[in-house]
Amino acid sequence: MATTQYLFAGFGGQGILFSGKFIAYKGLTEDKQVSWLPSYGPEMRGGTASCSVIVSDTPVGSPIVSKPDVLVAMNLPSLDKYEDSVKAGGVIFVDSSLIERKVNRTDVTVYYIPATKLASDNQMPTLANMIIVGKILKELGGYNEETVMSALKKVISAKRADMLEINLKAMNIGAEN
Amino acid sequence: MVVFEKPHALTDVPLHYCPGCTHGIVHRLVAEVIDELGIEGKTIGIAPVGCSVMAYNYFNCDMIEAAHGRAPAVATGVKRANPENIVFTYQGDGDLASIGMAETVHSAARNENITIIFINNAIYGMTGGQMAPTSLPGQITQTSPYGRDTDHCGFPIKVCEMLSQVDGAQYLERVAVNNVKNVKNAKKAIKKAFQNQVEGKGFSLIEVISTCPTNWGLTPQKALQWVDEKMIPYYPLGVYKDNTAEKEAE
């Protein structure tokens, strides 16, 4: 009876909601029960954004993630705010190009990845979020290009099919770093 | 030889209006127009809240009673549901120009293909003679017992003038029904307003300067004179906007 609760957090405009959506869709393609709940409010760009994602073998109860198994922090305020909420034994992914400090907790596994820098180095400045997603998949469940692609096709509309390859490339970079 | 007949579009229900009130004339004009255009079977009328609230009993076409001021919104719903229906609202000054001002302006702005018959008698009749948005400066009413003080409660709203600045409005005319000549003109205007809708020409509003002898405290005859002496000078009759001619040329 496995349930994984994710919390994605960062600035609005970093693709926080999209990366959460991808994880939810990937769960759906694997016949899991899933939920995705965004923070919502007046800050469309630049404010804080977060979303709760639950992927489970059993029906999802509350869709609100207050004690995540997995925290993705894409800016310092998010790490400051949510670090303590992560379950003991949980995992934190940190965008180390935007967050200079280290995680204080010693009872969690931490992965540092300079996602924003990798994204700009690879001419994909808007895809730091998907680089982190690649990293998550690799560290938590094994990275498989085929299942990743089939989930991508669900979350990216046919009209924007030209975005598939670059998203896959971003995740490959994440998986390799 | 029949010299006088009730229009088919009116029911046999006796009107409840006060002696000398001109609602009856305007009801008849609307009904005659519906008859002449042969549209009774597809016409939906929307009654307001005010003295003409029970207009739904008087017209033979399908009728809807709306909340106070909301008739143009209700008409919008009906027309959008069945564009082939002919939809008219019949509203007084409190209904149309006070509580329902937003609905009035926005139905005009959207150029809803509807017909609005707007009865302006410068007073709230049904509730017993209170100040209306169209009450004249200095006019004595139950809620302006010392005369409408424009410093205190503002100025009357000239609906045709105001709506003439709204791009969506297509046909706006102000008429009166206080003498035979004016009644004939009023009929012509009302007919055009319905004809516009039949031809898909869009939003038409006819403002009818009317009387309220009971609440004005005048005899029916004096009330008709008051229209000439006080109302029409403040609310000049005439066509305030007519885009329908252009449409024909197109």
């Binding site: 869709y25 919502y40 | 009774e40 939906i44 809807i64 709306a66 549901a81 937003a102």
Partner: protein, 353 residues
């Protein structure tokens, strides 16, 4: 069976409405339900429907009144402050016995309040939607799937009983995404001989109206309406019972609160506490008899709500105040945590020892 897709609750409502045959939507933007309007704006023109952004909530509900008068399926949606503005129209719809669907994706109040989820419009929805004696069918979804299912059901019930169905959701239900299958056999619309579609000179005129100046006539119309309500109370109650078989503690919760409560109940059961939940799906008609029966075994009722105990009153009435009662609530856009609910359950359990 249709494939499951991930959808936001708000979008699921919109798509389900279209499947139900609704081709007219009127609304005014307000967070957190604007996705419904956006979805309709995109879809309606492509299927010959009508999306119209009204100048106000008041205008929107009256446009609904207009379309409903013609017998077509029609809806509007809003969030708490906007529903207050629609109150006038809701009363007129009831007075004229018109069917419609109204969605309230609740946010915190009173006043402008906030934009985060709330259930504090429970009284308004179940008891006081507007002036006068009337009821609305109030449906409370607890998943995105139910947002869609209850929308279909809402239209069917509205037509069947000639009244307004209100979907009473909240910000989380509107904003969250879950897998949903939109696979429905929609019942055909009943005949509506009362509709104002034009006499075609073939029948007497129809009048849609809520004015009765004769008090005896108005009384009669009210009494007839309440006969209908009584029938609905007997026949249309919907609820979910969760682990209630041996429950000595009964949680009452709907919508998002029931989701949180389930987590807590699972934990409490691990401790051996005999706790279950009744989740009303129809808030009106309220599952009174189900609570009454639960009171035979349960000594304590815990109402988990995003309001100051508005539903707790109905729980007390249903159980004739025979039990102990605990309110477990957060308000203003806050949501009780599973830990808070568990604490309430443990308190109820300790109190019984």
């Amino acid at each position: 069976m249709a494939d499951k897709v991930l959808m936001k609750g708000n979008e699921a409502i919109a798509e389900a409405a279209i499947i139900a045959g609704c081709r007219h939507y009127f609304g005014y933007p307000i967070t957190p339900q604007t996705e419904i309007a956006a979805y309709m704006a995109k879809r309606m023109p492509k299927i010959g429907g009508c999306f119209l952004q009204a100048e106000s909530e008041i205008a929107a509900i009256n446009m609904v009144y207009g379309v409903a008068s013609t017998g077509l399926r029609v809806m509007t949606s809003s969030s708490s402050p906007g529903i207050s503005l629609k109150g006038e129209g809701l009363s007129y719809l009831a007075g004229a016995d018109l069917p419609s669907l109204v969605v309230n994706v609740q946010r915190g109040g009173p006043g402008l309040g906030g934009i985060q989820p709330s259930q504090s419009d429970y009284f308004q929805a179940t008891k006081a939607g507007g002036h006068g004696d009337f009821r609305m069918l109030v449906l409370a979804p607890a998943s995105v799937q139910e947002m869609a299912d209850l929308t279909i059901k809402g239209f069917e019930l509205a037509d069947k009983y000639r009244m307004t169905s209100m979907i009473l959701a909240d910000g989380t239900m509107g904003q969250m995404m879950e897998p949903v299958a939109l696979d429905y056999d929609v019942k055909p619309m009943p005949e509506k001989p009362w509709a104002t579609t034009g006499t075609k000179m073939e029948r007497e005129h129809n009048i849609v109206n809520s004015l009765f100046l004769q008090p005896d006539a108005l009384e009669k119309s009210n009494l007839e309406r309440y006969e209908r309500y009584k029938y609905i109370e007997e026949n249309e109650v919907m609820y979910e019972e969760y682990m209630m078989d041996d429950a000595e503690i009964c949680v009452a919760a709907f919508g998002i609160a029931s989701r949180v409560a389930k987590n807590a109940i699972v934990e409490a059961r691990k401790q051996g506490i005999k706790v279950g939940m009744i989740r009303p799906i129809t808030l009106w008609p309220f599952p009174t008899k189900v609570f009454e029966k639960a009171a035979e075994k349960a000594h304590t009722f815990i109402s988990v709500e995003l309001s100051m105990g508005q539903m707790l009153e109905d729980v007390k009435l249903a159980t004739k105040c025979k039990g102990e009662y605990i309110l477990c609530s957060r308000v203003g856009g806050m949501i009780p945590s599973p830990e808070e609910v568990l604490a309430a359950i443990e308190k109820a359990n300790g109190g019984a020892k």
